[in-house]
């Protein structure tokens, strides 16, 4: 589920023609923010709010580097991820001690949706989940609708394809880019919050564990469409579940082999999908210098 949120956030950023490698950093910051929010203010709501805020801060730094200073997107994103790894680790030790006594915080309880939660096989997997999951279910169609049916969505897509054309049409290109980055950051932060508040119940240094990069791959896998991205996230989640199932079967094979399954599956899907996919034309292109 965290992957879905992060990937939908990155989708927005990439449709605006930008690539934010700093997503990994936003997720990690969000996870740490969730810990701080939930343990100090208490409560899951405060945890998610703090997670979103932490993701927003990382995204603001990214926007500052990329839009304001016109720095290279890959470098800025990488730097922010490294910054986030270092900062969350340092702050964690400073605030909670380095003893490593894992802090337990209450996790968001699954809420079963009556009627569908009892369906065989998929019922419990899809409909007996923490509330943030249902938010994700709503987010994909909402984004799809926004991109297709509003002028702002059209403008965002135009910026990702041909920013000069968008500018000539009277669109404030940089402002929209900043908004996309900030939204992506908030969703990345929430993804990190989900890790802590709906899954682990604790924070560990570097706990994002590459999910930001997987999310970026999922955007490609989902061909830059909200439904595609949601499906990609589900596929990856299913592959992870499969991995546990394989392990439980007690085959005589090193467990690392099973760990590879979700990644290998994603890679295979990616190889099959990319040939037919078409990225936003201006994706990752150096931003035009300002007059």
């Amino acid at each position: 589920m965290p992957l879905g949120l992060a990937a939908l956030g990155e989708l927005l950023v990439e449709r605006a023609g930008l690539i934010n490698i700093g997503l990994e950093g936003a997720i990690l910051a969000g996870a740490f923010g969730a810990l701080v929010g939930a343990s100090t203010a208490g409560g899951i709501g405060a945890g998610f709010a703090a997670a979103a805020l932490a993701g927003l801060v990382i995204a603001m730094l990214f926007a500052l580097c990329v839009i304001w200073i016109r720095a290279d997107q890959i470098i800025a994103g990488t730097a922010l991820t490294l910054l986030s790894v270092g900062a969350t680790g340092t702050l964690y030790r400073a605030l909670f001690g380095s003893s490593g006594a894992a802090l337990r915080i209450p996790t968001s309880e699954p809420v079963a949706i009556p009627g569908v939660a009892t369906l065989p096989v998929v019922g419990a997997a899809l409909f007996s989940q923490p509330p943030i999951t249902y938010f994700l279910y709503l987010l994909a169609p909402a984004l799809a609708w926004w991109l297709a049916r509003t002028h702002a969505g059209l403008a965002l897509r135009a910026i990702g394809e041909r920013p000069e054309a968008a500018e000539a049409a009277g669109i404030a290109v940089d402002r929209l880019r900043v908004l996309a980055i900030l939204s992506g950051g908030v969703l990345g932060g929430l993804a990190g919050g989900t890790l802590v508040l709906a899954q682990a119940g604790t924070f560990a240094e570097g706990m994002s564990a590459g999910r930001g990069f997987i999310a970026i791959a999922i955007v490609v896998l989902g061909r830059w469409t909200p439904y595609g991205v949601a499906a990609g996230a589900l596929l990856f989640g299913a592959a992870s579940a499969l991995q546990y199932a394989f392990q439980a079967m007690g085959w005589n094979a090193p467990y690392q082999v099973f760990l590879v399954v979700p990644y290998a599956l994603t890679l295979a899907a990616l190889a099959g999908a990319v040939g037919r996919a078409r990225a936003p034309a201006a994706l990752g292109r150096a931003l035009e210098t300002r007059r």
Binding site: A152, L154, E161, R162, A166, A169, G170
Partner: protein
């Protein structure tokens, strides 16, 4: 030139006393333009006269350093295209501003607010098609459309935003003749409905056949305002080229400098026979060109933008294949493209690597850096390239020194026997007077050493100064002209074609 803009609504657009400077270049000096509603207004001028800059100012894309703008009788400040659009100004740029993967309807809807109702846009476009006689399929992707159809999309975009003043920058430069005629006819009827059209053009014939009023810019100044019916090709040409200065400019050229040439008496280096050339998109740009360029002469190329000279130069340099006909050329032709930073050098790499680039596509194996280092140093000596050293990034050099290095590389100056030919395109763009003179001297020296030099410059005086004869490209036809500013200028504008009609 025009009386102050009162609150007269019948004047669609007034630009008055507009100054604009870019760095060291004064693009506009107190330029003015006055467009009446219900008319087609032609804005004429040579390359670099300031036409496009003036209209970019009218569309809010550039801000003037000084001057006043009034739209439909009201004084305005234009800070962005959005302001201009709101005032009913529409612009069709020479390079289209469309999103290729989106449909016509999506492109038209771009820039709106709130909810996107594409089905409404589609029905409005159908209605517009019916009303104006435009044929447009709103649901097709723009990248699948022909250039002419893409241009119609641009116009439709402006019309859907209720544009009452339409500015078109060289709209016919990209169109085949039949489509051009159709477009001009449509613009006429658009103006007749009480709207206004500003037609930026190089083509005299076009201006004379359609315009109610004509404004001519020369070197950033408005030099002539005349009613279309009173305009003559001769008067417009004189205004564009500056009749008084024409004789003077040519007279300045020292007679001794000119090596009288007769192509037949030279060893031919380039020979074209009925050569037809197309641009990278496959559109035919030069048709049935025949000429010979010999060793030891500088042949000028002149033409207005989009006329086909770009393709001609690239074909001579071996960068573009010939579609039909014959074009004989040496295997290795030096080429100095006009955009030095983009196409000629690797700005952040050292001089030696930039020198090593010559012929890099045809070499294999290891690079002998010692040899190339020695060659770089000798090129720097012979061409007087002032640089911190052969290992310095080329970015650290002044523009003049960069260009000298490029020239030296392309001329292969230590080994003159191998370079029999070089094609140079705007070789002194952006250079100061001193560097320009040095580049000119190098080109003459190359000629004297027996090279065939093909020189294109958008500054016609530069061509006249260096060349012994000129190939003029106009709308795809190549004609030879002597060193005569008047003859070359007229051929460039297609004036003769006009007189023939």
């Amino acid at each position: 030139m025009t009386e102050p803009s009162g609150g007269d609504e019948r004047i669609a657009l007034v630009l008055q006393g507009i100054d604009k400077r870019y760095g060291a270049t004064q693009a506009l000096r107190s330029a003015s333009l006055r467009v009446r509603a219900g008319t087609v207004h032609a804005l004429l001028g040579e390359n670099g006269a300031g036409k496009s800059t003036l209209m970019r100012i009218a569309y809010g894309m550039e801000r003037p350093d000084a001057g006043a703008i009034a739209v439909h009788g009201a004084k305005v400040r234009l800070n962005s295209p959005a302001n201009a659009i709101a005032l009913g100004i529409g612009m069709v740029h020479q390079h289209f501003t469309l999103v290729p993967v989106m449909t016509v309807a999506e492109n038209v809807a771009l820039g709106g607010h709130g909810m996107l109702d594409l089905s409404r846009t589609i029905s409005e476009l159908h209605e517009l098609s019916a009303r104006t006689g435009f044929s447009l399929d709103p649901e097709v992707q723009v990248e699948r459309l022909s250039v002419a159809a893409q241009q119609r999309v641009e116009i439709a975009k402006a019309l859907m935003r209720r544009a009452r003043l339409l500015v078109l920058d060289e709209p016919t430069a990209v169109l085949p003749p039949s489509e051009s005629t159709e477009l001009l006819r449509w613009l006429r009827s658009f103006a007749d409905q009480g709207n206004a059209v500003v037609l930026i053009t190089h083509k005299l014939g076009e201006a004379l056949s359609i315009a109610d009023d004509v404004t001519v810019l020369r070197r950033g100044r408005t030099v002539l305002v005349v009613a279309g019916k009173d305009a003559t090709a001769a008067a417009l040409t004189d205004a564009m080229l500056g009749a008084a200065s024409a004789g003077e400019q040519v007279g300045k050229t020292p007679a001794t400098d000119r090596v009288e040439s007769r192509a037949s008496s030279r060893i031919p280096v380039f020979r074209a026979e009925q050569a037809t050339l197309a641009d990278t998109s496959g559109m035919v740009r030069v048709r049935d060109a025949s000429f010979v360029i010999g060793a030891g002469e500088i042949v000028g190329v002149a033409g207005v933008e989009g006329g086909g000279q770009r393709e001609l130069l690239r074909a001579l340099a071996g960068r573009l294949p010939v579609v039909t006909g014959v074009l004989e050329r040496p295997d290795m032709v030096g080429f100095v493209p006009e955009d030095r930073h983009r196409d000629a050098v690797l700005l952040d790499r050292p001089l030696v690597e930039n020198v090593a680039l010559r012929g890099a596509g045809t070499r294999r194996g290891l690079i002998e850096w010692n040899t190339i280092g020695a060659r770089t140093e000798s090129l720097m000596r012979t061409f007087d390239v002032r640089a911190p050293g052969p290992r310095a990034p080329i970015r650290t050099l002044s523009g003049g020194n960069q260009q000298k290095l490029v020239l030296a590389r392309e001329l292969d100056a230590d080994d003159m026997t191998s370079t029999a030919a070089i094609v140079v395109e705007n070789p002194t763009r952006g250079l100061d007077v001193r560097a320009t003179a040095e580049v000119h001297a190098r080109l003459r020296a190359a000629r004297d050493a027996g090279a065939a030099v093909v020189l294109y410059s958008s500054d016609i005086d530069e061509v006249l100064l260096l060349a012994s004869r000129v190939l003029v490209v106009y709308a795809g036809t190549v004609r030879e002209a002597p060193i005569d500013r008047d003859v070359v200028g007229r051929l460039m504008l297609g004036a003769e074609t006009h007189a023939e009609r």
